[in-house]
Amino acid sequence: MAIMNPLIEIEDLSKLYQMGDETLKALDDVSLSVNKGDFVAIIGPSGSGKSTLMNMLGCLDVPSKGNYWLDGQKVNKMSDNQLAEIRNQKIGFIFQGFNLLPKLTAFENVELPLIYRKVPGKERKELALASLEKVGLADRVHHRPIELSGGQQQRVAVARALVGNPPILLADEPTGALDTKTGNEVLELMHHLNEQGHTIVLITHDLDIAKRAKRIIRIQDGKLFEDGGDFL
């Protein structure tokens, strides 16, 4: 393989859903590559296939057809266990609905990926605290999600995504459940992380948000278009 490997490389990838007699193409032969250090926004209307794409990129779901290389590894033929490991090592998820575990404290939520990575307790603690500090929540370590504001919860989720230092952060409408101000704070945090070298793929249906990314990719009916930005 070439020296300048793209971090993400998908090729003629499709995801089909069988709905009775009809086959729905949630992703229709899409190809995409994302380099290290990129900040890619994927924008499209509701039902266009954004989340489906995100699930493919995040190895939460397997494509019906096509190839996917992540950080040089071909992942579309991997077993469930291998995929779990890839998710653990290579990907940090930031979901619209935060997806924190409500019974655990901020700290415990953040250290969870490291537990599954079998990082020893002491190191885990240091990394989790450092990660929480990075998102500005050093003083909320022992709060449970319910005791935090929406913006703070999403920052905990960012800390959890960051803690294992994965090459890619995937965010599916990370500001969708937040008001404009807190949404902006979270976005600023993500830009800041990008400046520090994290590769980010961000899904949104908000053009203003998309415009602040380095690259904008439009998705419509399961197809991808990349045309520079001012296409709407």
């Binding site: 779990a84 998820f93 575990l101 019974k103």
Partner: protein
């Protein structure tokens, strides 16, 4: 994910719903405590009975004459001839009657047994002070008596009974020995009695003939031989009427006690397995509910890298911790219950560490067995579907 981490997770998840966890454990608690209570009481009373039987003396055979026609007893001399049989070590015939024994102004109703010197070895029953009956006492119809500890205290208080005189049916008897304390064995208390020479007893009670004989076999191996020698002899005496006498041997009694214990243990294991089964189904039920409730949690865990195995272990540990804690509570309740019932009913309680371990082990196994299915269900969830679950 390691085991400590898993146990921590399980504990915190159990603690968030204490009432539910407790109700889930209840089946196991009841099962385990029932087993421990019943087994402890059962083994305690078996031990009690066994000790009582053994308290009768070693290699003991008892002959009871019920009689045939006019012949309802054996002559003392005939009985003593049994001693000549090869397997028989000693023979102690007994004539007994309940009489009122007087000393000063005190009266006590006790069993007075007329016997001979061999009673000491046959029944393994000795004096603590004074002397036992001697052959010469029997020969000369001496009016001497040995006294049991309870009767001694009742009649003489703290005074040494040896050397004192009591009245039996109006006849003065000199007490020559204080019997050792033996507690009760089959056939009543050993400490509330008087022993007198058998020849004297025949006089005082105005009876002739022996209806109860204690016989000691030479060795445990020779008990069966002694029994058959006795039966041959008795059959001769009663002209083959086997209903006129009964020959018991201590071994038979012990064996029947053991077989009763065996049946009881079997029944208890049955009860135990049924209640543990019911408890296990309860655990499985709650674990399945828990898996459904926590589908989203499972999705999140898988999204951030939990493998199938991690989720499986997490839920399995949870069900094992549930059933294990249930087992521990069950042991505590069971021990408490046994002590309580034991003290109320005056039954001895014998705790067996084996049974306690077994009960605990079984409850853990129940947790594994009934946790596997729900845990596997959780582990097999597809991350994407679990995450979408509301």
């Amino acid at each position: 994910m390691n085991i400590t981490q898993g146990i921590k997770m399980a504990m915190s998840s159990i603690l968030t719903n204490k009432l539910r966890a407790f109700l889930t454990m209840l089946g196991i608690i009841i099962g385990v405590s029932a087993v421990i209570t019943l087994v402890s009481l059962g083994q305690g009373s078996t031990k009690q009975v066994t000790e009582q039987v053994q308290g009768l003396g070693s290699n003991l055979i008892t002959v009871t004459i019920t009689g045939r026609g006019s012949q309802t007893s054996l002559d003392y001399e005939d009985v003593m001839k049994l001693n000549e049989k090869s397997a028989i070590e000693a023979v102690a015939p007994v004539i007994s009657q309940n009489v009122t024994v007087k000393h000063g102004n005190k009266n006590e109703d006790v069993s007075v047994e007329g016997t001979n010197a061999e009673y000491e070895s046959v029944r393994d029953f000795h004096v603590q002070t004074g002397r036992f009956l001697l052959p010469i006492d029997v020969e000369y119809r001496q009016k001497v008596a040995l006294i049991g500890t309870s009767t001694a205290t009742d009649l003489f208080g703290l005074t040494d009974p040896v050397g004192q005189t009591v009245l039996i049916n109006g006849n003065p008897f000199k007490i020559v020995g204080l019997l050792e304390e033996k507690g009760s064995s089959m056939g009543g208390s050993n400490d509330e009695k008087l022993l007198i020479p058998i020849s004297t007893a025949e006089r005082v009670f105005a009876t002739k003939g022996v209806r109860n004989v204690y016989i000691q076999a030479k060795t445990p191996e020779e008990v069966d031989l002694a029994v058959s020698q006795l039966e041959t002899e008795l059959a001769k005496k009663f002209r083959g009427d086997e209903d006129s006498y009964r020959v018991f041997n201590q071994q038979d009694i012990l064996e029947s006690v053991e077989s009763v214990t065996g049946i009881m243990t079997l029944m208890l294991s049955g009860i135990a397995s049924i209640s543990l089964l019911v408890g296990g189904i309860g655990i499985m039920n709650i674990m399945l509910v828990s898996v459904t409730e926590r589908t989203r949690e499972i999705g999140i865990r898988k999204a951030i890298g939990a493998k199938k195995r991690d989720i499986l272990i997490q839920f399995l540990i949870e069900s094992i911790v549930l059933s294990g804690i249930g087992g521990i509570f069950g042991i505590i309740v069971g021990i408490g219950g046994a002590l309580l019932v034991g003290s109320i009913t005056n039954i001895d309680v014998a705790f067996s560490l084996n049974v306690i371990w077994l009960a605990f082990g079984f409850s853990v196994i129940v947790g594994v067995f009934f946790g596997i299915f729900p845990a596997n269900k959780a582990a097999s969830l597809k991350p994407i579907e679990a995450l979408r679950f509301e």
